[in-house]
């Protein structure tokens, strides 16, 4: 009798362990480029997902900057240890499409997993348009932002400008910046009217804002881009404005990157700045600390030019194909979790990146979020009022990271006075053409 009960217990134990093993969650890896505070928000989202169910466990890892993440993904793919989901910046889109290692999320959701309940129309059109390649959504929109003109309302009042009448055209930018610049008795500048970090992104956006394309073949959307439009009027006009304002001493050149310009605006050394919409929260708080009030406006454009609009920037999440079926299913579960309303609202309110789904925007409308923070509304309206065209859909360029560097160098050459804007952009354009030719020749 005793023996039998022992055997039964043993058998039960074995059964239990086996079934426990069967319930062991599927583990997937998620690489992202969100550091600092935004990184914590990402980790919170991952944790919330892990706690919400016990079939999938997501391991998130910060892999450095956007560029580092792309490089590390390349290395990982070649050594056979690729993650399941990876966050890639918008300008890495073409290279990911060409990589041959990804599975478009529309294929993942529809065909691999067979999820028929997912609403593919739930994303904001300007957002999904960017990541839509060959008629298919290739990656899950995640952190999205556009540039916006920020200004210090108190600085406007101080010099007699109407704080509710921000500059709208290039000519007005010069006029306003002139008025906002303060020089001391020695002639050295205490406050600049405007500042802008040398970042290629702004040049791309300024072209789109004039409804101009960056490269041929409909911004690389109809076929591989082979020719750059950097030397055309839209871009050159903006670089000319940039140089003119810096030369006149009404605009601070803080050098390459974001930090210098940010510091200048937050410390009151500059009265206006163009920066990412993801900075609305930070700038609002920063100016409040100085007892100043933040204003926002759409990007300026040259007089008499029709308004194009802004291109969505930021990054999206890509699924890597070479994994077993159950891990792909797990990856899909996590991706669709992130696109749910609750997570989107949370992400937006904590980081300032746009919510990318219509439901989340509606929710924010209903909770009066926009009437309480009008600067977020400016950011939204600028995006939603953008013309639906290839110019604002954004360019697809295989060597986009390199193109950005070439543009930044050209701006530096102009500002240093080595070349005129036209010359610098012609040189840049020729370099981009060569870069495109080399890249395209690999895929022939």
């Amino acid at each position: 009798m005793k023996k039998i009960s022992l055997i039964i217990t043993m058998a039960l134990l074995v059964l239990l362990t086996v079934s426990a093993a069967a319930q062991e969650p599927v583990e997937i890896e998620f690489w992202h480029a969100m550091g600092g505070y935004n990184g914590e928000v990402v980790n919170d989202l991952v944790e919330r997902f892990n706690e919400s169910q016990d079939e999938v466990h997501v391991k998130s890892q910060n892999t450095g900057s956007y560029n580092d993440t792309l490089t590390k993904t390349q290395a990982a793919v070649q050594s056979g240890s690729a993650p399941h989901i990876v966050q890639i910046y918008e300008i890495g889109t073409q290279v990911m499409v060409d990589s041959g290692i990804i599975i478009p999320i529309e294929d993942l959701g529809r065909d691999v997993v067979g999820d028929n309940t997912f609403d593919w129309g739930k994303f904001l059109t300007p957002v999904s348009n960017y990541y839509n390649v060959d008629g298919k959504l290739h990656s899950m929109p995640f952190n999205s932002s556009t540039p916006l003109l920020f200004y210090n309302k108190d600085a406007f009042r101080e010099v007699g400008l109407d704080p509710n009448d921000p500059p709208q055209t290039f000519a007005e930018m010069v006029e306003y910046a002139e008025a906002l610049t303060i020089r001391d008795e020695d002639g050295s500048i205490e406050r600049y009217g405007f500042t802008l970090g040398i970042v290629g992104w702004f040049v791309e956006q300024m072209a789109a804002n004039q409804d101009a394309q960056l490269v041929n073949n409909n911004n690389g959307r109809d076929g591989r881009a082979t020719e750059s439009y950097l030397d055309q009027e839209a871009v050159v006009r903006f670089i000319e404005l940039w140089k003119e304002m810096v030369d006149q001493g009404i605009m601070l050149n803080p050098g390459r990157g974001w930090d210098g310009a940010n510091q200048a605006f937050l410390s009151g050394r500059s009265a206006m700045i163009i920066e990412s919409t993801a900075s609305v929260g930070r700038f609002t708080n920063g100016l409040e600390e100085m007892d100043d009030q933040l204003g926002t406006a759409f990007l300026p454009r040259p007089e008499g030019v029709d308004r194009g609009g802004v291109i969505i920037g930021g990054a999206s999440l890509w699924a890597i194909a070479d994994h077993p079926q159950e891990e792909l299913e797990a990856a899909w579960k996590f991706l669709s979790f992130l696109s749910e309303e609750e997570q989107q609202v949370d992400w937006f309110e904590k980081t300032g990146y746009f919510p990318v789904t219509k439901a989340a925007v509606e929710k924010e409308m209903n909770t009066q979020f926009f009437s309480e923070s009008p600067n977020h509304l400016t950011a939204f309206l600028q995006l939603l009022l953008s013309k639906k065209a290839v110019s604002t859909q954004g360019a697809l360029i295989g060597t986009f990271p390199e193109v950005r560097q070439i543009v930044e160098e050209a701006v530096e050459k102009t500002l240093q006075g080595d070349m005129t804007p036209q010359e610098a952009m012609e040189e840049a354009s020729a370099r981009v053409d060569r870069s495109l030719e080399q890249y395209n020749s690999l895929y022939q």
């Binding site: 390349q74 070649q78 290279v95 560097q405």
Partner: protein
């Protein structure tokens, strides 16, 4: 007694160097061979496409004015950094060679920059030279009422990177100069003083010639340091800009590899760099003991 017969134990020396050979091959020789091979190909990002192109990457490089310019720029940078660095270090070494109370504290202070990472060093200089909130411009403004565009103008950015590199490597040079100075016997100085030599003559005719082995060694080490180790400082301070003014060979290599996704071209650049370092090392071995005053 067992007889020690080396003829029958021919394999022993090989066995003994095995561990270090293994490590060297794994971490040095194998990657070197890999770069050599890689430099003969053109690769698509993610390695999905690989096209054999022979020496084309090298031809591309040497017909690219930007690469030739970066070679010349790097040579100029290395020359100024080493020349300036060694003079400053020698002067400081002479000062901290004095037998003063608490001199060890000073020696440590001068050595600290060498111990911190290039990233931290670069960030410190960015803070100091920041056009908006930097201390250097603040002081210049107070004293001379000038604002220097440190990192946004080519000439100044080049100067700034040189200053940062000299500062960073100073500690290493001072330590070696100090050791060199202390190995010069006091009797030589005493004799010179008795003969009535001035302190400048002592420096010119005794200290500097007797330090020449140290100086030579430092020049070689500094060449290698400045070519490779400035990467971190440049990456943090200027990212090769503005308009390529600080784009040295090592930084261009990094950009081609990790931003422009041209592994073949980057590998070719690393092979060229390897060649240059081999040349310097050869020069070191060949002439290291000639024309230099050893006691």
């Amino acid at each position: 007694m067992q007889k020690q017969d080396f003829k029958t134990h021919k394999s022993v020396p090989y066995l003994l160097i095995m561990p270090s050979m293994l490590i060297l091959s794994l971490f040095l020789y194998w990657p070197t061979i890999q770069s050599l091979i890689l430099s003969l190909y053109r690769n698509a990002p993610f390695g999905s496409i690989k096209i054999y192109v022979g020496m084309q990457n090298y031809f591309t490089l040497f017909s690219d004015p930007a690469y030739l310019a970066s070679l010349i720029r790097s040579a100029l940078f290395v020359f100024i950094t080493i020349f300036g660095g060694l003079i400053v270090s020698l002067m400081l070494a002479l000062l901290v060679n004095k037998k003063l109370y608490g001199i060890k504290v000073y020696r440590t202070i001068f050595f600290i920059p060498y111990a911190i990472s290039p990233t931290v060093a670069g960030s410190l200089w960015v803070f100091l030279l920041n056009p908006v909130a930097g201390h250097v411009n603040y002081i210049l403004e107070l004293l001379f009422n000038v604002q220097v565009p440190w990192l946004t103008s080519g000439v100044f950015a080049f100067t700034a990177v040189i200053i940062a590199s000299i500062w960073k490597n100073m500690g290493f040079n001072i330590i070696f100069f100090l050791a060199g100075l202390q190995s010069i016997p006091d009797s030589v100085y005493e004799a010179a003083e008795i003969d009535g030599a001035s302190s400048f003559q002592i420096l010119k005719d005794i200290t500097i010639p007797l330090l020449s082995p140290t100086t030579f060694y430092l020049i070689i080490m500094n060449i290698i340091f400045t070519v490779f180790q400035t990467f971190g400082i440049i990456d943090i301070m200027t990212q090769g800009g503005p308009a390529d003014a600080t784009n040295m060979v090592i930084y261009k290599l990094y950009r081609d590899m990790f931003i422009n996704f041209r592994p073949g071209l980057a590998a070719a650049q690393s092979v060229i760099l390897l060649g240059l370092v081999l040349l310097v090392t050869f020069f070191h071995f060949k002439f290291g003991s000639k024309g230099i005053h050893y006691q």
